[in-house]
Symmetry: C2
Subunit: 138 residues, 2 copies
Amino acid sequence: MNNNNIFIEKLRSAGLRPTIQRINICKVLFDRKKTFHFTINHLKTLLQEKTDQKISQATVYNTINALTKKGHLKEISINSEKNYFDTNITSHHHFYNESTKELIDLQDSDIGKINIKKPLPGKKIKSIEVLVKVANNN
Amino acid sequence: MNNNNIFIEKLRSAGLRPTIQRINICKVLFDRKKTFHFTINHLKTLLQEKTDQKISQATVYNTINALTKKGHLKEISINSEKNYFDTNITSHHHFYNESTKELIDLQDSDIGKINIKKPLPGKKIKSIEVLVKVANNN
DNA sequence: CTCTACTTTAGAATCATTATAAATTACACA
DNA sequence: TGTGTAATTTATAATGATTCTAAAGTAGAG
Ligand SMILES: [Mn+2]
Ligand SMILES: [Mn+2]
Ligand SMILES: [Zn+2]
Ligand SMILES: [Zn+2]
């Protein structure tokens, strides 16, 4: 795989040694065109499917936590059932399809400008994110 | 306490027998002027403080889950650290103060009208909620 | 008042996540 | 290109939140 060098650089820049396990995680996470929303369990399944290398649960957790702390992943809370991570690390909006349990990124242009009318003395806004819950008709 | 009858009615309307434990939970949850955002642990602490009656952990969980299922409470996901519940069961927006870990309701009038520009064929919008994360200025 | 279904409870079970500590590996530098 | 050391991986144990179990207690219809 030719992207390996990119992943190795990504890991190095985060202060992580590029081990086989971590490179395989990067392949599954970042070797795709669209944003990837996933749970740890989903990721573990994909790792089993897509790679030969065995990988322990602890390494999956450690690596995802490290990538998240370094800002290469974002944690997303939709409900208390599942803990999601997101390869789109920008501040952005989501559709959540309650019928399919699918999470989809929204572009800023998909939602009108949001302006906070309430004054916030002594406080700094860190992010403004919209969650639109939808369900399939019938 | 004079509100007891209100709580008893509330419980009855949800098909729950008004036991001492459940009435005490209602007192802590609903006997207040403003929206109450809480975690189970927070609630357990308040129950100990404000009532004499002992109450088991299982009863707290069972009752909160029953009230939530019946629509008297709403579950709120801000982050994966803590699971919050909300006595404001309407669809509404929140400020989350990352410095104080405080969650505050926003009125619709605090935020400009949000309109979804993206067409959603075959889907029905269930809710549109904004989460504004803020932090104290150093 | 009595009976029965509902409720409470302590404790066990489960599930996701984190900690531990021994074996393995990456890689700086000799 | 070897060696030493710190970083990493891993199996397994521990933890913490939540749910389950099943025995004892209670509400309330009749
Ligand atoms: Mn986490
Ligand atoms: Mn729940
Ligand atoms: Zn996203
Ligand atoms: Zn609220």
